[in-house]
């Protein structure tokens, strides 16, 4: 049995330690906001936060997160930071098909948690592991910049 903190709650799974975290989240906990885009850690659609760091859950074995803290979009959407990001993404028109969006939002939060007033270059670097085919990224970059300005004190 593997125990970990998921979106603030202590949970456990009996899955084999080699099972992908992505599958545990989606199948056992029905947290389908975490998406599978490529299955090899390239696209970032499956991004979650593990102890605050952005991680691709499709190449993370559940055994490796024993005792750690996992936050998915379902947990993060309850926060004040999410509200700021959600508004900023709307204002900048940063959401199209939406498949990369939960991962992008978490990538933005991971960046802003470490650097609350990032440069444009910082933002591009921070989301460079999250592929988006719809937007061309610039409107997402703008959204994160707006959030960094609007979210004073939250990060």
């Amino acid at each position: 049995m593997i125990e970990f903190i998921l979106n603030g709650n202590l949970v456990s799974t009996n899955s084999d330690a080699t099972t992908r975290l992505l599958d545990v989240l989606r199948n056992e906990f029905n947290l389908t906001g975490t998406k599978e885009g490529c299955g090899e850690g390239e696209c970032g659609a499956c991004s979650v936060l593990i102890d605050g760091d952005l991680v691709t859950s499709c190449i993370t074995a559940i055994g490796s997160i024993k005792g750690k803290t996992v936050v998915t979009i379902e947990g993060f959407r309850e926060t004040e930071q999410y509200k700021v990001l959600e508004k900023a993404f709307a204002k900048a028109g940063a959401v199209q098909c939406g498949f990369c969006t939960p991962g992008m939002i978490l990538a933005a939060h991971a960046l802003l948690s470490k650097k609350s007033r990032p440069t444009y270059e910082d933002i591009r670097e921070a989301i460079s592991g999250n592929l988006c085919r719809c937007t061309g990224y610039n409107m997402i970059v703008d959204a994160i910049m707006i959030a960094s300005k609007e979210g004073k004190g939250l990060w």
């Binding site: 028109g93 498949f99 061309g136 997402i140």
Partner: protein, 699 residues
């Protein structure tokens, strides 16, 4: 009423951002089975023998024998089997499917299936190919005489590569069979295409097939025809096993077997008179269709119609063929044949201009078509062509001509700069009279007692914002708040067939139907009384399109674009850095500024990828770059802020003056990018993608 272009929060913004949106892979049904397709491992031949392991209880093999109707995929023609009956035409062709409750067990079983083949000699490339799946040609004026009288004849051949749509959500469907009725859920652009295909394969009538679109994670053309294939496969399985059956492709399988942009070879000949003016052009365009016709014929039509780009040339001979090869069938990708041709014609015009010692733009200006001019196919530019003002605007914001002159002087050193410009257009809607003859769109508006209004159409939102733009058209026409207008993902049991979500047609054609329906609703509006308005497509009579002769108005209207790209080339490493990217577009009227900007920004970056880094090869029948590591699409670090401006040029045939915008931004980036690199290195380039390896060969 506020200007419709002012951006609003998208209707689906919150569900998508919060992770609540349900994509097909997020759906679960009681007792649902999973499916895996067993595919051919050879490119051409016959199946000799299939040896199956013991299939445990609750696991099933589904193959051609299980198909109740016709073993044929309905697209344009129905030439492609759903499951092979012994003949193999490409590597990855579906032979059978294993269905059961546990994915790992399915994998295990699939590895034990042994198939032996009698191999035949395959062909892979346009050069090797000998069979034309479809061909067209047309002429204008007296091209023969023009070539006979030519002072000089120039020839150039252009090569363009594959491009993978690379939507971030892989393709997937779920099929359910209950009470002699099939229901298909899935990620798709065209629910009625899937429905018609399933009806044919299942031998079922209209009332017994239902298709429901899930939230769709990007399409770009890639989800135009292939959802019909997997929709039929799960329909057959669901009927046999009497359980819901899910087929969700993983990335590798998606990249190996779904249709891509056609690789193409475009040969041009140009006749110049003694004043060094173009008197005639001859073009031959060959595309690699893959193993089956699919959409290749209609893609080829668009490629041929675009043969002379935005220019007016009096004498023409244009021919083209979609060549059969034993490779994965190619299909629709944003631009639909036009990006290949615009790369060729724009580079050709640049090269001729430069050969004559001119700034390519100055050379092109003499040939730009104007309102009233005839098109390549003897149709007419019925409306204002705003390219002149677009050029003026581009000069102002990008400094193109000044920079071109500066960079054209001999450059030395490791880093050299260049700038390129392209001019292009995109015909909006289906080619010719297909809207009138085949699609016959119907849209429905329903007013409820509480004075909310619901939109019923079959067009899908796959990220391009259609739910929001359609709702804005209806709300603004009725003069009611946007919150009072609803739209859901289409369910063919509920929505009329307003046609597929393709060809830059949704806003211009279906949006117009909704505008007309809303006007009627407004006239008949009585508070708190229900009201339904059904609106049918009305054809705008232009010069009739004759597909046999390839003559007439190919499209009712065109959207126009201009791109400028400025680059710095590292002569040592053969890498390029973007210094500036500009786009000037005429999409009639923007229904929502943010949504249009999203389309333009996203489309342009796909164009930069197409031009510079997205390399896909077919080696011995197999797609070589079949994952996101090997097939690289641009990341946030590969791009820079784009400078985009819109030209106001409302079109009377579109709602609020809007024309098509979805495909346009991808059409012209590649020639602007490559022209910029040429300008920096002072060498001609005729092939894309221009990867660092290719560029290194040039340096």
């Amino acid at each position: 009423m506020k200007d419709i272009s002012i951006s609003v929060k998208k209707k689906d913004h919150e569900i998508k951002t919060s992770g609540r949106a349900i994509y097909v892979a997020d759906m679960k049904f009681e007792g649902m089975f999973y499916a895996k397709v067993i595919r051919s491992t050879i490119a051409k031949g016959k199946i000799k023998e299939i040896s199956l392991p013991n299939i445990p209880d609750n696991y099933y093999i589904i193959d051609a024998k299980d198909i109740p109707g016709k073993n044929a995929l309905k697209i344009v023609e129905s030439e492609q089997p759903i499951f092979s009956e012994g003949n193999i035409e490409y590597m990855g062709e579906a032979i059978m499917m294993i269905v059961g409750p546990d994915k790992r067990k399915i994998e295990e079983l699939s590895e034990k299936i042994k198939i032996t083949y009698e191999e035949e000699e395959p062909v892979f490339t346009i050069e090797e190919a000998y069979e034309k799946l479809v061909s067209y040609h047309y002429e204008k004026g007296d091209y023969k005489k023009a070539f006979q009288n030519a002072d000089e004849i120039l020839e150039e051949t252009f090569i363009t590569g594959y491009q993978e749509q690379a939507y971030i959500e892989p393709q997937g469907v779920i099929g359910i069979y209950e009470n002699n009725k099939i229901t298909i859920y899935g990620s798709m652009q065209c629910p009625y295409y899937v429905k018609e295909a399933v009806m044919l394969t299942m031998g079922m009538d209209d009332k017994h097939v239902q298709v429901i679109q899930n939230v769709t994670g990007g399409g770009f053309g890639g989800k135009e025809d292939y959802p019909s294939m997997i929709g039929c496969q799960v329909a057959v399985a669901a009927k046999k096993v009497k359980r819901p059956v899910a087929l969700i492709l993983d990335r590798k399988e998606d990249m190996l077997v779904t249709p891509k942009r056609h690789p193409a070879r475009l040969k041009y000949r140009v006749a110049l008179n003694n004043k060094k003016e173009i008197t005639a052009i001859e073009a031959d365009i060959r595309t690699n269709a893959g193993a089956y016709l699919g959409l290749s014929g209609v893609v080829l039509q668009r490629a041929l119609i675009a043969a002379i780009g935005v220019y007016k040339i009096e004498n023409l001979y244009v021919s083209g063929a979609a060549m059969k090869t034993n490779t994965v069938p190619n299909g629709a990708y944003r631009g639909f044949g036009a990006p290949q041709t615009f790369f060729a014609i724009e580079m050709l015009m640049n090269h001729i201009g430069e050969k004559l010692g001119l700034n390519p733009l100055e050379f092109k200006k003499k040939y730009i078509a104007k309102k009233g001019d005839t098109t390549a196919t003897n149709g007419k530019y019925h409306y204002h062509v705003p390219l002149d003002e677009m050029i003026d605007k581009a000069e102002k914001i990008s400094g193109y001509s000044k920079k071109y002159k500066k960079y054209s002087k001999p450059q030395t050193g490791r880093y050299r700069r260049g700038i390129g410009m392209s001019l292009f257009l995109h015909g909006c809607g289906f080619t010719g009279s297909a809207e009138r003859d085949y699609i016959k769109s119907i849209a429905k508006l329903v007013k409820n007692e509480d004075d909310t209004v619901e939109i019923f159409v079959s067009n899908t939102d796959m990220g391009q914002g259609l739910h929001t733009t359609f709702s804005k058209i209806v709300a603004n026409t009725l003069g009611i708040p946007l919150e009072k207008v609803y739209i859901n993902n289409p369910d063919t049991d509920k929505v009329p067939n307003s046609g597929p979500t393709v060809a830059s047609r949704s806003i211009m054609i279906v949006g117009k139907l909704l505008e007309r329906a809303a006007k009627k609703m407004k006239e008949q509006w009585k508070p708190h009384e229900p009201l339904t308005i059904i609106e049918h497509y009305k054809h705008i009579d232009l010069i009739p399109w004759d597909i046999e002769k390839f003559q007439g108005d190919a499209y009712p209207a065109y959207s126009y674009g201009l791109n400028v790209v400025e680059v710095e080339v590292d002569m040592l490493l053969a890498t390029t850095k973007l210094l500036g990217v500009w786009g000037i577009f005429d999409v009639g009227k923007a229904i929502d500024k943010n949504i249009i900007m999203g389309q333009l920004q996203g489309g342009m970056l796909q164009g930069i990828g197409y031009a510079s880094m997205e390399k896909m090869e077919n080696k011995n029948g197999q797609i070589y770059q079949a994952n996101m590591t090997d097939y690289m699409i641009p990341t946030a670090k590969d791009t820079i802020p784009f400078n985009i401006e819109l030209i106001d040029n409302p079109y009377e045939g579109g709602p609020f003056g809007a024309k098509g915008a979805g495909e346009l931004p991808l059409v012209g980036v590649a020639p602007a990018y490559v022209a910029a690199v040429e300008n920096a290195i002072n060498k001609n380039i005729t092939e894309i993608p221009l990867t660092p390896e290719k560029l290194m060969e040039k340096l």
